[in-house]
């Protein structure tokens, strides 16, 4: 049995020694990022940070060793998606006693900033120099996730990742990726390509309406993830309807449809922030391209793409659609080595692994900094629940 497994095992992409060498910078970065956690007291936080350092370093090593990106990134991303609500809800319950956000917290500027609101802020900020979000601009003791800090983080991650934010930074996408992975085969295979336009329509709608109403309309009415984070206290018909919408959207787009289609349906067909992030793929240097000399038009990559970012036409033209989030699923699935990582300005397929490495170092640094710190904090919270002495 063992020898049979050894016979079928694919050849390693890179030697153990070289893989370790390439992983060393990532390990050092993770240690540097969590050094402040170890300097402060708190056994649970030390355990959480240690677990994340090992986790992120191991996954990067496996990416180097196997040459696969999506396969290993997914472990991080799904863990982030499922652990973020655990830590966030636990902290809300500890501070407020419930997941609902009371008006006191909004008035005091204690609402943690969510990047989803960024596109909605632009017009009121430009025209009236006003931020339509109940947070504080500078970090405070009660709200370290201030508007300035989170916008700065988003800006840096966007420059480094472009739309890849959606596969290395977003703490929501992992939930649906997890439900998509839970299904062995897609029960719904045919999806109308025009559905790709829906996030753009929603983006336009919420940006214009938010500017007109001077409130973050998407957060108040349409965000599916309110169901697993925080929401306005239910005390009227209006707030009950809001809550009903959040739960219905979450159930449909984040649980049921990903399970049935094996796609990230909320990201592909609904998320206005994802559409907004797509615009930054234009300025980001990294992309996925197709070596037309090797491509046999088998469309395995199209089937593997979790966000419908490939079409027959785009593959024939040697690229992806604007909404590609650089998760690497198409590259991992391509049996001919035609789908490759690419640095804009260089020749396609000349040094794809170099482009992948350059991208992954930046992406994994950001993932460790942002998602890693969320993971560590959530793990510390979970450990706190365990009956350990």
């Amino acid at each position: 049995m063992a020898s049979s497994a050894a016979r079928t095992r694919p050849p390693a992409f890179r030697s153990v020694g070289r893989s370790i060498l390439l992983t060393v910078p990532v390990a050092m970065w993770a240690l540097l990022m969590f050094a402040p956690t170890f300097r402060a007291p708190g056994r649970n936080h030390h355990l959480g940070a240690s677990a994340v350092i090992v986790f992120m370093t191991t996954l990067f090593f496996l990416m180097m060793r196997t040459g696969k990106t999506y396969r290993w990134r997914r472990y991080f991303f799904v863990a982030l998606g499922f652990l973020f609500p655990v830590g966030f809800i636990a902290s809300l319950v500890a501070v407020r006693g419930s997941m609902s956000i009371p008006i006191e917290r909004m008035v005091s500027g204690d609402t943690p900033f969510c990047y989803m609101v960024i596109p909605l802020l632009i017009i009121p900020a430009a025209l009236a120099r006003t931020l339509i979000f109940p947070g504080s601009i500078l970090p405070t003791a009660s709200n370290p996730h201030s508007i300035a800090v989170m916008i700065g983080l988003w800006l840096a991650m966007t420059l480094v990742l472009g739309k890849a934010w959606c596969s290395y930074g977003c703490f929501f996408g992992g939930i649906e990726e997890g439900f998509a992975a839970a299904s062995k085969h897609a029960k719904i295979r045919k999806l109308d390509a025009r559905l790709r336009l829906v996030p753009w329509a929603i983006l336009l709608f919420v940006v214009v309406l938010s500017a007109a109403l001077f409130e973050p309309v998407y957060c108040m009415w349409l965000c599916p993830f309110k169901a697993v984070t925080e929401y306005p206290a239910v005390h009227s018909v209006e707030t009950a309807i809001q809550m009903g919408i959040f739960i219905a959207l979450f159930a449909a787009l984040v649980i049921v449809l990903p399970f049935l289609t094996k796609k990230r349906t909320q990201c592909a067909y609904f998320c206005p922030f994802g559409a907004f992030q797509s615009l930054f793929n234009r300025i980001n240097l990294f992309e996925i391209r197709f070596d037309r000399d090797k491509c046999v038009d088998c469309t395995l990559c199209q089937t593997a793409c979790p966000t419908m970012a490939l079409s027959v036409e785009s593959i024939r033209e040697g690229g992806t659609l604007l909404n590609c989030m650089k998760c690497g699923a198409c590259v991992d699935s391509c049996k001919k080595g035609a789908a490759v990582w690419h640095l804009k300005g260089t020749k396609v397929a000349l040094k794809p692994e170099r482009a992948r490495l350059l991208f992954l170092y930046g992406a994994w640094a950001m993932a460790t900094l942002f998602g890693g710190s969320i993971l560590a904090s959530s793990i510390a919270t979970v450990i706190g629940f365990l009956p350990l002495r």
Partner: protein, 170 residues
């Protein structure tokens, strides 16, 4: 030649991208946050209560009256005036104050409330309008809105009094 230049520029760009990734944690909290704060942006007055108009000190605590806040564009909010009493620790158990909101020397509302010992609880009290421009209210409780509330927040009791006559105080 042109292709070579493009390639070099591409790798320089990639190196800059990596440098950004590495520098972010070290500049984010300090330099970048301060730069954003100095950009002249402010959080909408419906959340913050707006700009301070006047402050009166009563021994250990202070009553601060804010400028009226008006809805902007199609904002779904009634106009209001915010009053804060701070710090909560210095407030007498029962506060009863007649307050001039428009600066004409005459009291416009009478605010009374009892400060609860739990900082997460809401004060119990009422606002009585002494001027027809303002709307009094009893305990807003669950009907609290950005325009009508009486809560504890950030070590202060925050009261928002709705304005009845839109436009009179502009």
């Amino acid at each position: 030649m042109r292709a070579q230049v493009k390639t070099v520029l591409a790798y320089v760009g990639a190196a800059v991208t990596l440098a950004i990734a590495v520098c972010v944690p070290f500049v984010l909290m300090g330099t970048f946050s301060k730069a954003v704060a100095h950009a002249g942006l402010h959080v909408d007055a419906s959340y913050t209560g707006g700009a301070i108009a006047a402050a009166v000190t009563h021994g250990a605590y202070q009553t601060v009256v804010y400028q009226p806040v008006w809805p902007r564009a199609l904002q779904q909010m009634d106009p209001f005036v915010q009053i804060t009493f701070r710090p909560v620790a210095a407030l007498p158990r029962r506060v009863l104050e007649a307050i001039d909101l428009d600066g004409d020397g005459q009291p416009d509302v009478r605010v009374s409330f009892t400060v609860p010992p739990d900082p997460r609880s809401r004060p119990s009290g009422e606002v009585v309008a002494l001027n027809a421009k303002y709307a009094g209210f009893g305990m807003p409780g669950s009907r609290s809105s950005f325009s009508q509330l009486m809560v504890q927040s950030n070590g202060a009791v925050v009261v928002r009094v709705p304005l009845k006559e839109a436009g009179t105080l502009r």
